[in-house]
């Protein structure tokens, strides 16, 4: 068996001047082809894990290791991780005035692949993906995320996922704030992206986004670590019964 795509070993993450501990002793292994779902109540550390994996400078890793594709990236900057094949879909994507979505994505594609991007080919592919995501073509020429609605921002994130084709996609509540139809569109985008060579880690409170995906593992976070790991059936169990019931189960 080949080596795992991502290995997180005994990870401790702190934030702020007071060095508040948000993750402590977290372990996680993700192989190519897998889909992992992170669940847990607000503040359990799900988004922190995503940010720490991507290298958000606000968070500091004080112990442990992140191994991605055999390379220790624990202390690498976000761009190095992105070029290594990691992608984070942000909960609230930044607005960057003056840069159109298309020119931004072309620059990013060039950075990630390390090769010059063929403009016409890129435009055709981008137009096709935007159509699949039900995005108005005019968004390509609008400034990145500026004045986009919540739903449009999320779609733009998935568009980036589809264009940049990372090996590991971290999706942080990509379905929040979306209406039913938009969730379907985004879910089909994620499905289109996923294949045997890449992997997904998804934070969600909503099973709809997982439709059509084979969920391999569900991890429940609490108190800064993973407290339970199960298969896909855990998703519905948690949604129906809540974390409290789950915790009581644990206690027994």
């Amino acid at each position: 068996m080949s080596s795992p795509l991502l290995e997180v070993k005994d990870l401790q993450v702190v934030v702020g001047e007071e060095n508040k501990v948000l993750l402590d002793g977290l372990n996680l292994t993700v192989n190519a082809g897998e889909t992992h779902v992170l669940m847990g109540h607000n503040g359990a550390g799900k988004s922190t894990l995503m940010s720490a994996l991507m290298g958000d400078p606000r968070y500091t890793v004080t112990r442990g290791q992140i191994i991605f594709r055999g390379q220790d990236i624990t202390h690498e900057t976000a761009d190095v991780r992105a070029r290594a094949g990691m992608f984070l879909s942000f909960q609230t994507p930044e607005e960057i005035p003056g840069i159109t979505l298309e020119s931004f994505l072309r620059t990013a594609a060039g950075a990630v692949t390390g090769k010059p991007v063929k403009v016409m080919k890129f435009r055709r592919e981008m137009a096709a993906q935007m159509e699949a995501l039900n995005m108005d073509p005019s968004y390509a020429d609008r400034y990145l995320n500026v004045g986009f609605s919540g739903g449009e921002k999320k779609k733009a994130e998935i568009l980036q996922l589809l264009m940049l084709k990372p090996a590991l996609a971290l999706l942080d509540e990509t379905d929040s704030g979306l209406d039913v139809d938009a969730v379907k569109t985004v879910a089909s985008g994620i499905k289109a992206y996923h294949n045997a060579d890449n992997a997904l880690i998804i934070i969600t409170h909503n099973a709809k986004i997982l439709e059509g995906l084979q969920v391999d593992y569900v991890h429940v976070l609490d108190d800064a670590r993973i407290v339970r790991t199960g298969d896909g059936s855990l998703v519905n169990e948690i949604i129906e019964e809540g974390f409290t019931a789950l915790k009581e189960d644990e206690a027994k």
Binding site: M54, T77, D79, T107, A111, Y143
Partner: protein, 472 residues
């Protein structure tokens, strides 16, 4: 792309004779420490001025000697005012030597990827033979429309001599400030443009070519007269980094916008970083006319640049779009002035300032609405971006409103690049340096899109160059 393509043709041999003659003349001046009537007379004689111009220069000299250095704005201590003559009569011999070009300019050329052969030309040390040819071609093309486009010296004695006399320094009188007076006394070179009524000049006229003339870049005078209903786009070409031994630039631009006429005046200034750029630009706009300024300031050691518009006819309009980028060792004080002197006039000032690496990028403005300017509107909006905590960016606007039937608004913002935005871009694979450059480019984009394409491209290159090594 005209300017760029032609600049890239290099003439191998420099005709030294032009410089050699001037060197001899210079030697005589250097014994005088201050600026005297004799020196001004000599300049006047050398340029074959008409009598009125000689008298004008002497009057301006008198004003210059009495005026004091402004007590506000950037420090001008680096200027040797007691020995002003060294700025007036630079030793042009050094302009001929590539080896004398400062390292930072040479490095700029390296990074822009400009071949060796072209660099000396861009630096103003090469022959101007080529530019003259282009200039004459343009001249012929627009002459067919009845447009006059010539150098100031010829204009003074040519068929438009009376028109020049009637307008010369009427918009910017020598009494305006000390450096306007200095300009009046020692001006040399520059362009004269006259666009007859109703003529729409399709190609932008560029002063690019003219500035390479020896000594002409320092105190050049640009006089533009656009008659009723006509249109002109004039581009002031300091777009190449320019090397000058003498580091004072006190040029003057006067624009007369006739009834219903429209003039757009674009500049990308990238003087070498030892330059004191104290340029005065002003437009007078008649009824229903429009002046549009587009201004980018990147170069110079110290800059004071506030194009002014006097809206003296009913319904006259002005628009000012500017960007200033100050890096290490630079103190750039830029902005705009407007006087609403007639009813229903409109002004709109929109600027962006960027400061990094210890540079100072200040915005300064003045909006005056006179009592008769009823129904006028003015809006000012300025945004500043600080790229580190060693730099400075001050916003110093002032307005003087003497009429109640007006609508005057002003807004300013200052801030920095958000760390979140940088992280977002880095998470998409960009290096921190590229992420910063991209955001700064986006900040500047509203200005860039007002520029002709080749200048917008160059401005973007300049931003990327300036951002290189911006991460400590």
């Amino acid at each position: 792309m005209r300017a760029f393509e032609t600049e890239k043709t290099e003439v191998a041999e420099i005709d030294r004779s032009v410089y050699d003659i001037k060197d001899k003349v210079n030697a005589a001046f250097e014994v005088n420490s201050g600026l005297t009537a004799e020196i001004v007379e000599q300049i006047s004689k050398e340029k074959h001025d008409p009598d009125w111009m000689r008298e004008f220069r002497l009057k301006a000299l008198d004003i210059y000697n009495k005026a004091s250095i402004p007590n506000w704005g950037p420090s001008l201590e680096g200027l040797d005012m007691r020995n002003i003559v060294t700025y007036v009569r630079p030793n042009t011999e050094m302009r001929g030597k590539w080896s004398e070009v400062p390292d930072d300019i040479k490095n700029t050329f390296e990074r822009l990827g400009i071949p060796q052969a072209e660099r000396s030309s861009l630096a103003g040390v090469g022959a101007q033979y080529d530019s003259e040819v282009v200039y004459h071609n343009v001249k012929e093309e627009v002459a067919a429309q009845g447009v006059v486009y010539t150098d100031m010296e010829s204009a003074l004695t040519g068929p438009y001599a009376d028109m020049v006399k009637e307008h010369f320094m009427k918009c910017v009188p020598p009494t305006d400030h000390k450096f306007a007076a200095l300009h009046g006394a020692v001006w040399s070179g520059g362009s004269f443009v006259y666009v007859p009524a109703g003529v729409h000049v399709d190609i932008p006229l560029q002063s690019y070519f003219r500035l390479n003339a020896p000594g002409a870049g320092q105190f050049e005078h640009t006089l533009i007269i656009v008659d009723k209903g006509a249109y002109l786009h004039f581009i002031e070409g300091c777009s190449a980094p320019k090397y000058n031994v003498a580091n004072l630039h006190a040029g003057c631009v006067e624009i007369f916008v006739g009834e219903g006429a429209r003039v757009r005046y674009s500049t990308i200034e990238n003087w070498s970083k030892n330059m004191y750029n104290l340029n005065t630009k002003r437009a007078r706009v008649e009824k229903g006319g429009t002046i549009e300024w587009v201004s980018g300031s990147f170069g110079s050691h110290t800059g004071c640049l506030y194009p002014m518009s006097v809206l003296q006819g009913e319904g006259a309009r002005m628009e000012f779009t500017g960007i200033t980028f100050a890096g290490a060792g630079q103190d750039l004080d830029t902005g705009a002035k407007v006087v609403h002197a007639a009813p229903n006039t409109t002004s709109h000032i929109s600027t962006k300032s960027i400061a990094r690496d210890g540079g100072v990028s200040n915005f300064r403005s003045s909006v005056v609405v006179l009592p008769n300017a009823r129904g006028s509107k003015s809006s000012v909006s300025c945004e500043s971006l600080m790229l580190d905590d060693r730099s400075r960016s001050d916003t110093i606007p002032a307005m003087d409103i003497r009429c109640d039937a007006v609508d005057v608004g002003h807004e300013a913002k200052i801030g920095r690049i958000s760390e979140e935005a940088i992280f977002y871009l880095m998470s998409r694979g960009m290096t921190e340096e590229d992420a910063r450059a991209l955001i700064v480019g986006g900040f500047a984009e509203p200005i860039a899109k007002e520029l002709p394409l080749e200048y917008a491209v160059e401005m973007n290159n300049l931003i990327h160059l300036e951002m290189k090594g911006s991460i400590g």
